[in-house]
Amino acid sequence: MLAKTSGQRPALDDRSWVRGLLILSALAFLLLFLVLPLVSVFVEAFRRGVGAYWDALIEPDALSAIHLTLIVAAIAVPLNLVFGVAASWCISKFDFRGKGLLITLIDLPFSVSPVISGIIYVLLFGLHGVVGPFLKSQGIQIIFAVPGLVLATIFVTFPFVARELIPLMQEQGTEEEEAALVLGASGWQTFWRVTLPNIKWGLMYGVLLCNARAMGEFGAVSVVSGHIRGETNTMPLHVEILYNEYNFVAAFSVASVLAMLALVTLVAKTALEWRFGAELAATRH
């Protein structure tokens, strides 16, 4: 028998053929839409053997794409981390007017198409943008350069840390902080010794998701990048270029690194959920 039910509550048991049918259709759906695409990335990557795979990764343009991806994430993720902590501190520890609006605004980037997330910066800083001509006269280039990539990445990953921390810190309330203050701790001591240890797993969870998106973002960075090989190509953009040049093995080789990143993210995320499920529960409504 494929499926066992809990057997604890007979009224909730479905007939065995219903169970079998539902499990099979769920698994078939997931196989078709999740497992096969994932597997195919690795199969395509190794189609010409390990040598070709490795060559695609150590080729200079690929290395520079990997380098750039790491740099962009290394700037965007810490900034959003600091923002997330600051935003959730003022939202969860204080009562003020307009809190609901603020939370909505923080969530806003999630409901904006990645392409639009890129375009807004082009319209602001680009040559024909609002402050573009001024920036050009100062010799500052943002669009089609690294600052643009960083800005677009910050935008699309903007809410990740904050939205994990806000519900978590709201649930934890302010009593422990009050206790620390009464015992003579300063504001910073209270934050580092009491608040931070209490939110560290939620913080890690948010950073994990934020980082995965920062390294994998395509649409937004595609718009601001200008696709200059070896200069403004992140890994996902490099995958696109290789694919459009019909260099499939190389495209899938670079893609497989990103897929690996996704798998590591999933494993770490699942491990956090299993280990600290109760503490993180507030973040998953």
Binding site: A179, L181, V182, L183, A185, R193
Partner: protein, 346 residues
């Protein structure tokens, strides 16, 4: 005077939590702030600790104006209702926290901190739980950790917010006695908030009864119980019979004269009379105005319900007295009132 509260007022939106409160807490006493929820007792306690600001008034801690001081400058010990133990720290680290966060110049050395913490853990009888985390302790143990943590900073006053509120009945009683004993040993000026009259009357040196942001009465437990200063205190403390009455020439007449009670305090006209059940005497009388409508025996005590001219009265006596009187449901009886307080009807 350990704490001097003068004219403290606190408003939350349109709701006045404290209204011109004056209070003196004497050095070394254990004082209870007693009142129903919403009476402002917790707000007053939090203002003393600096966890809440006051809109106006003054607060002196040992003669020093304290309203402008932050909680960390006030050096008060505060025990939170749900303890607020730091969940990621061991019992030891919780108690040591207040010593570890001191400015470097005033901080003790590692071994001195350890000595002090262990001493406190001995005091609260938790020395062998030093390495446990709060989640591994029972409610009563957590409460004692919270107390040790508050005492670690050698506070000038100790403030406790519903210290036994989250505990079950049996633990609550034990801990209450233990706290009283602890207070008798260390004599730290302490203020605790409670809504439980029994707790306040049993534990405190003096009781402050609060209602709707005002202090109704301050006095010893016997004082507030035996001589309630207001109708509110009468109703809030203990069981009470309450009748509408009309007072004329020092006599309160209830139910068109079915009962006449002598009064002393010069109230005239429409009023409310309060009589404790154990101040209400019954005697069997075939032609009496009352009729026994129910008898409930609880342990050694008996409660007798009496119908009198459409009112239901409750009398309390011990079982021996009841069997001596020989009253049964349906019997007629006479009602004597030994003592009553009358307050003008609002």
């Amino acid at each position: 005077m350990a704490i001097q509260v003068s004219g403290i007022t606190k408003q939350f939106g349109h709701y006045r939590a404290l209204d011109q409160v004056d209070l003196e807490v004497r050095s070394g006493e254990l004082l209870a702030l007693l009142g129903p929820s919403g009476s402002g007792k917790t707000t007053l306690l939090r203002i003393m600790a600096g966890l809440e600001s006051a809109d106006s008034g003054s607060l002196q801690l040992h003669g020093e104006e304290a309203l402008g001081l932050s909680p960390r400058e006030r050096q008060v010990g505060f025990v939170f209702q749900h303890y607020a133990l730091f969940r990621h720290m061991t019992v030891f680290d919780n108690v040591a926290f207040g010593l570890k966060v001191r400015p470097r110049a005033q901080r003790f050395g590692r071994s001195e901190i350890k000595r002090r913490v262990m001493e406190l853990l001995e005091l609260v009888q938790l020395a062998h739980f030093a390495d446990r985390y709060p989640a591994q302790l029972s409610g009563g143990q957590r409460q004692r950790v919270a107390l040790a943590r508050a005492l670690a900073i050698e506070p000038k006053v100790l403030l406790l917010d519903e210290p036994f509120g989250a505990l079950d009945a049996k633990v609550r009683k034990e801990l209450r006695r233990w706290l009283r004993k602890l207070h008798d040993d260390i004599h730290i000026t302490s203020v605790f908030v409670t809504h439980d009259q029994e707790e306040a009357l049993e534990l405190a040196d003096r009781v402050v009864v609060m209602s709707q942001g005002r202090i109704e009465q301050v006095g010893s437990p016997a004082d507030v119980y035996d001589h309630p200063a207001s109708a509110f205190v009468y109703e809030f403390l203990g069981q009470v019979n309450r009748f509408d009455c009309t007072v004329a020439d020092g006599v309160a007449r209830v139910a068109n004269g079915a009962l006449a009670i002598p009064t002393e305090n010069g109230v005239q006209g429409e009023a409310i009379a309060y009589v404790r059940p154990h101040d209400l005497g019954l005697s069997p009388s075939a032609g009496g105005p009352g009729r026994v409508s129910g008898i409930h025996v609880v342990g050694p005590d008996a409660r007798v319900e009496v119908d009198l001219a459409g009112l239901t009265l409750e009398a309390e006596m011990d079982r021996e007295r009841l069997s001596f009187l020989g009253l049964r449901p349906g019997d007629r009886c006479a009602v004597h009132i030994d003592r009553a307080r009358v307050f003008p009807r609002r």
